[in-house]
């Protein structure tokens, strides 16, 4: 078998793999959005910018101090997570209880600031970040050649997503988090430090975005606008999956990445908009999203 639906199988599987990689990023980013939205009721428009900062942090660390990929994978999320904590303490804190639209607008302003700073420093043309040595090359699976780094990205993202899901749905800390979203006052009365929990949640969400950024650095160009191009698709993923549903955002993210990849094979002109078309259709049939609960 060398062809599938009239398409060479190599090209088909290659796009499928690319779609899966994109989907892995959609899943990780929409997961972070879902976690932040769940507890803070804030649509974090700055998520794309934090993802970009994560990628740049890895690139700068390597370029300036020779910090290798594996350390950057830990350090960059820590740095960006700390930045997230500062943002939460100084700004987002003041918006709780207001219309969630203000959170959206504030984080939009933040994303302009972050993107502007990096654009001023590094221009619009991207920087390239080379694949770490251990993951260079490709494995021949017999029916296709699989680049090792891409396989690693998909694997890592699935592990991170499952880990987050486990943390929130199956641990005591997760139980506090979920209870906090239901009734913050009551949880506080039980002696749980809710403001601290909220702060750490935003920090963790930011760190998750940065982790995706570091993973993305060797696949895409590290460029100031890399986040803003992605965030809109991630929003569409969130709308389709149903906001606040963790498992929903993961499945929808991966699925849409694959669909997008396949569209690139069969009808390339539509590959940019297929996600939005799906969003429109899903909204017609299920306004609350595929995994969302009707409010």
């Amino acid at each position: 078998m060398t062809e599938i639906f009239g398409i060479p199988i190599q090209a088909f599987l290659g796009q499928l793999m690319l779609g899966l990689v994109n989907g892995a990023f959609y899943a990780m980013l929409s997961l972070g959005l879902a976690v932040i939205f769940g507890l803070l009721d804030i649509v974090n428009f700055a998520h794309g910018a934090l993802y970009m900062v994560g990628a740049f942090a890895a690139w700068i660390m390597l370029d300036k101090w020779g910090v290798n990929y594996w350390f950057a994978l830990i350090l960059a999320p820590l740095v960006v997570g700390a930045l997230g904590v500062v943002i939460e303490r100084t700004m987002l804190k003041r918006l709780y209880g207001l219309d969630p639209l203000y959170g959206l607008l504030l984080t939009f302003g933040l994303s302009l600031i972050l993107e502007g700073i990096f654009r001023d420093q590094y221009g619009v043309s991207g920087q390239s970040y080379s694949v770490p040595e251990a993951l260079t090359g490709a494995t021949n699976l017999g029916f296709m050649v699989l680049p090792n780094y891409r396989a690693w990205v998909v694997l890592a993202s699935i592990v991170v997503c499952l880990g987050t899901w486990f943390l929130i749905e199956r641990t005591r800390l997760g139980a506090y988090l979920r209870a906090g979203t239901e009734n913050a006052k009551l949880v506080q009365a039980f002696g749980v430090n809710v403001p601290m929990l909220v702060m750490l949640t935003y920090g963790a969400g930011a760190a998750l975005a940065a982790l995706a950024g570091v993973l993305a650095a060797p696949v895409y160009q590290v460029a100031p606008q890399m986040g803003s191009n992605l965030i809109i698709i991630v929003f569409a993923v969130v709308v389709i999956g149903g906001m606040g549903s963790i498992i929903g955002s993961v499945i929808t993210g991966l699925g849409l990445g694959i669909i997008e990849g396949l569209t690139k094979v069969f009808y390339p002109e539509a590959s940019n908009i297929v996600v939005f078309v799906i969003m429109a259709i899903v909204l017609m049939v299920r306004p609350a999203g595929l995994f969302g609960k009707e409010a």
Binding site: I113, I233, F276, A280
Partner: protein
């Protein structure tokens, strides 16, 4: 309208009528007026109906392309170009509105954003838009086939007339019974429904009106500047029009105009000097607006005068 407000408006109008004579660069003022109209159209939706659309650039930009294209490639007269752009805005508004009003609040915002991104990719790939280069060299030609618009002064007064007419039109809409229903939806949607109003129909109509006016603003901009590019239809533009309204004062009549003036002036005068920092500055203004004065400049002024009045009447 109080006496002070009426005199202020008359004073401003006189100033605008005299602007080209006192040496203000007419192209700059025209640009401000186009964006002011865009911001007023947006504010009709956010300020008076309470719907935050994050996709208004789609109507503005698509209309700019439509108007530029019919005028340039088909030799239509400018007024027909404006009509075409406005209609495109309205039709697009109907489609986006039908899908988006199924959800509320932030979902509504995100859906409009995603759909406008779809329009962006359409404009990037469609053959008549010129892709990355945009649509260049749109002629202003002759209004009604008679009045040549080539000189900036003539064009200026046409733009001013359209702007003033639309501004008064928006005031009329908001103060009409229809506008009262819109405000009621903004204040309490559930109660409006329980009073027997078909809320979705009202929201959709407001959305289409706002999109049509945004389309008019976009087509006017294409005529004035002579080009339509991807910047007009990009989602950052949707953000800018939100900032204009927020900075000037959401839900006030004059706020969006003032906000548009400040943002355009900042962009025009700062861009050469500070480069990419202009985005940082705009982002900072956004953050400060949301954190410190959510009423905007005009809104804060209203509140200040209100406070003074209560103090003096005591």
């Amino acid at each position: 309208m109080s006496k002070t407000v009426r005199y202020t408006y008359l004073g401003l109008l006189a100033l605008l009528l005299l602007a080209p004579l006192v040496g203000l660069y007419p192209v700059f003022v025209m640009k401000v007026l186009c964006f002011a109209l865009f911001a007023c159209a947006f504010n009709l939706l956010l300020g008076f109906t309470g719907l935050l659309s994050f996709g208004h650039a789609a109507f503005f930009g698509m209309a700019a392309y439509a108007c530029g294209w019919v005028v340039k490639a088909h030799g239509w007269t400018p007024e027909l170009g404006l009509v075409a752009g406005t209609l495109i805005g309205a039709v697009l508004g109907l489609v986006v509105g039908l899908i988006a009003i199924r959800r509320q609040g932030i979902y509504f915002a995100m859906i409009t954003l995603a759909l406008s991104q779809m329009v962006f990719f359409f404009c990037l790939q469609a053959p008549f838009t010129g892709g990355e280069d945009g649509l260049q060299g749109v002629p202003r030609s002759r209004l009604f086939g008679l009045l040549p618009l080539d000189t900036d002064t003539t064009m200026y007064y046409v733009v001013l007339a359209i702007f003033v007419a639309c501004f008064l039109g928006i005031m009329r809409i908001v103060n009409s019974p229809f506008g009262q229903v819109l405000k009621m939806i903004r204040e309490n949607e559930a109660r409006t429904t329980s009073l027997g109003y078909d809320v979705d129909k009202y929201k959709l109509l407001a959305f289409v009106l706002s999109a049509a006016l945004a389309g008019l603003a976009g087509s006017l901009k294409a005529l004035v500047m002579g080009f339509a590019t991807l910047t007009d239809v990009q989602w950052q533009m949707s953000g800018e029009v939100i900032l204009m309204s927020l900075l000037g004062g959401v839900g006030t009549f004059f706020g969006p105009v003032l906000g548009a003036g400040i943002v355009i002036a900042l962009q025009d005068y700062l861009a050469d000097r500070v480069g990419a920092w202009v985005n940082v500055i705009i982002g900072l203004i956004f953050v400060v607006c949301v954190l410190a004065f959510r009423k905007g400049l005009v809104g804060e002024l209203h509140a200040f005068m209100e406070r003074r009045r209560t103090v003096s009447s005591r």
